[in-house]
């Protein structure tokens, strides 16, 4: 498994896209943080970049990479290696390189220029989202045989989680605002990894304003450590469940 990871990593390095991604993130981070002497503003801009682009780029790149590497995968499978090992090796190599890109591009400038718990949380969020969306990409890869269809689905999934989901949720909150929907909303949030990541950041950036709302949701759930633990646990599920599903499907797949 280690050898496979090594070769996939080398391949990714040769690919240069990861390097390019790192540089773009680094330039963005340094410029956004350098423009203003107000660190909160810079953090917010980086949060927006993270929530919008990291999922999209990760899922697109991963899907394309998995589909392109299909011959390599088939070659490996002709050897006496277990199927799930091949798949997990490819997944780990990809996520490791993408999250390293994020950690180097955004994490290091952030931790150097704006120290504090918020910077750490933002870096963590980016890395977690990378894991989630490459895991989803793997699921797309094992589920669909056609590359074009796979890429289309990947774009649809990214857009769904960044935009559509929130739209539906807002409509839901508006139409049922007369009812006690606090807990239901927290439950719904769990179905969107991007929202979970955003809530995690919100808990550290806007505690003061969250304390201003009466109601169990903001006091008990969001006001305490429970909120953070809940969010991280749900994101973990978002990584593990698609991964296990794809391994399961891949094991039974007729290649």
């Amino acid at each position: 498994m280690k050898t496979i990871i090594k070769y996939v990593l080398l391949d990714l390095l040769r690919n240069r896209v990861i390097l390019f991604y790192t540089i773009i993130l680094a330039v963005l981070a340094v410029s956004v943080l350098g423009i203003d002497d107000n660190p909160t503003k810079g953090l917010l801009s980086l949060l927006n970049i993270t929530l919008l682009f990291v999922p999209l780029i990760t899922i697109l790149f991963s899907t394309i990479y998995f589909f392109n590497a299909i011959e390599f995968t088939e070659l490996l499978l002709s050897q006496p290696i277990k199927r799930n090992k091949v798949l997990l090796a490819e997944y780990s190599a990809l996520t490791v390189s993408l999250s390293t890109a994020y950690a180097v591009g955004i994490g290091i400038p952030l931790l150097l220029l704006v120290s504090g718990i918020e910077s750490f949380i933002l870096t963590l969020i980016g890395i977690l989202l990378t894991f989630v969306f490459s895991s989803l990409a793997l699921l797309i890869f094992v589920k669909f045989r056609d590359k074009t269809k796979g890429i289309g689905i990947a774009i649809a999934i990214a857009l769904f989680f960044t935009l559509l989901f929130d739209g539906f949720l807002l409509a839901f909150i508006y139409s049922f605002s007369d009812y006690p929907i606090d807990q239901a909303v927290v439950g719904i949030i769990a179905f969107n990894p991007i929202d979970l990541a955003r809530v995690l950041m919100l808990l550290h950036l806007d505690v003061a304003v969250l304390m201003g709302y009466s109601g169990a949701l903001f006091k008990k759930f969001l006001g305490s450590a429970t909120g953070s633990i809940f969010s991280i646990a749900c994101i973990m599920l978002w990584i593990i469940v698609p991964l296990l599903l794809s391994v399961r499907i891949f094991n039974r797949k007729d290649l």
Partner: protein, 410 residues
């Protein structure tokens, strides 16, 4: 020549005429009260170190009471401890502790009642219902006292420094914590509250009612249950105070209710749920203040009128300004807003397009608090942008026509 010599000779005898003595008092059964009863007007009592288990001590003549190395006056949770009912008493250097608790009377560690020109300074008051209680006092100084208690709820606790129907007080350099209200003023006029620290009180750091023409400067109010409340007063001047970290669903840096003709200058509002809350106020000048990292910088209700907000810095607040209606009879100008994204073509330091400080999402979340969970998502970002182009939800009269491009140096 003779009258001059006579006067000089008489002056030489003057110290002997005053008869003022210093009397040392040692711990013993009611020794403090006995010493007071035995002392004459203008005498000085020097309380020696030790524990004096006494309560309801009455100082009813002009005396100077000085504690040597903080002698402890312990009320043993029974009753009130020291009453001062004479003018010009000086009380200093005592540690007064453990008053009783009662729902009938306000049990105070040091109570100044119907007296003028009293000085209470450098005392420590621990674990009392009320710390220092001024009742119908005038020209009284409360200085450098440390007042602490461990109150848990509002019902069974009292205030650190409580002033009722007083005038011309000076409250300065005190450190009050763990009481119901740190400093409480009711019907107190022309007084000054300066350089005090009031923190971790159950309700308000400073509570201020029907008290006109008072000044409070350079105080620090932090971590109080509900911040500071100033109500039903006029002519209040607040300068150089720090309001820090007052968190909760009814916590405000300052809450102003029915205040008129007052000034709020050079204060710092840091990390409060609401920095400044205003309701039914008239003609207030809010200038040169810092609003930093608050949930809401200012909440100004539609019932406020004639106030000017100028030269303030708003940085890192979740929401800068919120209001509850569309009418706005107050004026914002020359403030620095870190969320302003306009331009300054003529380079005069003032933005060329007005800034609307009410964020659309603060209006939305006011109506539907649950929607707050979507705050800072991409979707709400789009909503903000659309609202900027076509304002429909936010009150369009609430705007700053001359926003500053650079932060004021305050």
């Amino acid at each position: 020549m003779l009258p001059y010599k006579l006067i000089i000779v008489l002056l030489m005898f003057l110290p002997g005429l005053s008869w003022a003595k210093s009397i040392k008092v040692y711990p013993g059964r009611n020794s403090f009260q006995k010493a007071i009863n035995a002392a004459k007007r203008n005498d000085t009592l020097l309380l020696q170190p030790g524990v004096y288990k006494e309560h309801d001590i009455l100082i009813n003549k002009k005396l100077v009471v000085i504690g040597v190395h903080y002698p402890v006056i312990d009320g043993e949770h029974t009753s009130q401890i020291i009453f001062i009912t004479a003018d010009s008493v000086i009380l200093q250097g005592l540690q007064v502790q453990n008053t009783g608790r009662s729902s009938m009377t306000d049990m105070a560690a040091i109570r100044v009642q119907n007296a003028n020109h009293v000085i209470v300074r450098n005392n420590k008051a621990f674990n009392n219902t009320y710390g220092i209680y001024l009742q119908n006092a005038g020209f009284t100084v409360v200085q450098n006292n440390i007042i602490q208690a461990n109150s848990e709820d509002e019902l069974n606790s009292g205030n650190g420094i409580h002033a009722w129907k007083c005038h011309d007080l000076i409250i300065t350099g005190n450190d009050v914590s763990g009481h119901r209200d740190g400093i409480y003023f009711e019907f107190v006029t022309t007084s000054a509250i300066t350089g005090n620290v009031s923190h971790a009180n159950v309700r308000y750091g400073l509570h201020f009612m029907f008290s006109h023409n008072d000044t409070y400067t350079n105080n620090r109010f932090s971590d109080n249950g509900s911040g500071v409340a100033v109500m039903y007063s006029k002519g209040v001047t607040m300068t150089g105070n720090i309001f820090l970290h007052n968190w909760g669903d009814a916590a405000y840096g300052i809450l102003l209710k029915e205040i008129a003709d007052s000034k709020i200058n050079h204060n710092q509002f840091l990390k409060n749920t609401v920095g400044l809350y205003m309701e039914s106020t008239t003609n207030i000048a809010v200038g040169d203040n810092q609003f930093n990292e608050n949930g809401w910088g200012i909440k100004v209700m539609a019932s406020c009128s004639g106030s000017n907000f100028t030269r303030n810095n708003f940085t890192g607040n979740s929401f800068d300004v919120a209001t509850n209606g569309t009418t706005m009879l107050n004026h914002f100008s020359e403030n620095f807003w870190d969320k302003y994204d306009g331009y300054d073509l003529d380079k005069n330091g003032t933005g060329d397009v007005p800034y609307y400080p009410v964020s659309v999402y603060s209006v939305v979340s006011e109506r539907v608090p649950t929607a707050m969970i979507l705050y800072r998502s991409f979707l709400t970002g789009i909503m903000e942008q659309v609202e900027k182009v076509m304002p429909s939800i936010i009150p369009d009269q609430l705007k700053d026509d001359t926003p500053r491009m650079k932060k004021w140096k305050l």
